[in-house]
Amino acid sequence: MAIAQHDDPDAGGDALAGLAWALARDLRLALRTPSELGVQLLFYVVVVTLFPLATSPDRALLAALGPGVLWVAALLASLLSLPRLFALDLADGTLEQMAMSPRPLPGIVSGKILAHWLTTGLPVVLLSPLAALQYGLDAGEIGVLAAGLALGTPILSLLGAIGAALTLGVRAAGALVALLVLPLYVPVLIFGAGAVDAFRAGMAFDANLSLLGAGLIAATLGAPFAAAAAVRIALD
């Protein structure tokens, strides 16, 4: 792989050090600005709550809508903070220092993506059982939904990071990130929401979850390299 050649062959430990550095720093920054975290979670809760209000209180309808709505809301909540993932670091010069670090950039980028998931994806996963109650999902369905979200939301952060890095320095980057990334989110959405439907229909739902898991592995291996390459282009 062209990008891998860029970095030392024995840089495995360095990559982990870079990951730990970026993770610790981004989490610390996120905790210093808790209002941003709160806004994203509130956004998720509000979107999820709007649908029962806007449609009908019919139990069967809500139960049918539920998984899809919860997934779309999770997707939008993840999108909300993506434009800021690299843009702030680009503006204040941290990004060029990261690119110049002896630690491999894909490792540092992985740390940032992990921090993004821990601050946006994980809270959504944890809140989803509560949100699912509004749609009258039963315990089994909630379990499958949460498992799907736990596997799927990291993919959203990983793919989103590529979009965020590609749109660095572009005007109206937020809208462009959404246009770039939303089509890539479609398979995640289909398998994630589909898992709950399959469970409800008494069919094998684990195929959907397995596909999400496979997607997660593929994205974990590929996305940090793609995002790092895009960051280098943005700095040039």
Binding site: W21, D92, G93, E96, Q97, D236
Partner: protein, 204 residues
């Protein structure tokens, strides 16, 4: 030894320079001068490996290095216009974070000593957004004080510094050269350096 040969740069359609060559030996400093827009920053970013030259070659100790190559990333400390400080973190946290990112190991005492040296000792726990522009620059000086990299590339390092800050910068660079490091700096204000070790490259 940092060398460049036949470097060419273009920003958009404007050609900044072409056929540019330079060589800086260990222990020497190169000061790049030129009017605004002549390509000082572009040249420095090329030497730091952040910008890919349109043409030409950069060599570090005789070996050709490409942009973002591990050899450059292990040798260079780059201080650009953007200071890489996070407003939410204190001067001390920012300094520790930048130093760790460069792969260096420093203990708390060294961090505090560096901050004292740049006269930020009293302010080191304040969030960086409360620091003045000159004080923010001084965090960068503290980073230089802790840097043991061989190559320093400094883009307009004197900006926003007061007289004592500029003198301190001169001291730090002089100590760096005395250790056998080399420095490339773009500047309008003269650096307080031993004249025998300084050469000037004008892009005008």
């Amino acid at each position: 030894m940092l060398e460049a040969q036949d470097l060419a740069a273009r920003r958009g359609t404007a050609r900044l320079f072409a056929g540019l060559g330079l060589a800086v030996a260990a222990g020497d400093a190169l000061v790049v001068t030129g009017a605004n827009g002549r390509g000082k920053t572009t040249l420095l970013r090329m030497l730091a490996g952040l910008t890919i030259p349109e043409a030409g070659e950069i060599r570090l100790d005789g070996a050709s290095v490409r942009a973002f190559s591990p050899a450059l990333r292990a040798a260079v400390t780059f201080a650009g216009h953007a200071l890489a400080l996070k407003d939410e973190m204190s001067a001390r946290e920012n300094l520790a974070s930048l130093v760790t990112l460069c792969g260096a190991q420093v203990d708390d005492a060294e961090l505090d000593a560096a901050l004292d040296r740049v006269a930020l000792g009293e302010r080191k726990r304040l969030p960086s957004r409360l620091l003045s522009q000159g004080q923010r620059r001084r965090v960068g000086l503290a980073r230089l004080a802790l840097s043991r990299r061989r190559v320093w590339i400094l883009d307009e390092p004197v900006t926003a510094l007061d007289a004592s800050g500029a003198a301190l910068l001169g001291e730090l660079v002089a100590a760096h050269l005395a250790r056998g490091g080399l420095a490339v700096a773009s500047t309008h204000a003269p650096l307080a350096l031993p004249p025998a070790r300084v050469r000037t490259l004008s892009l005008d």
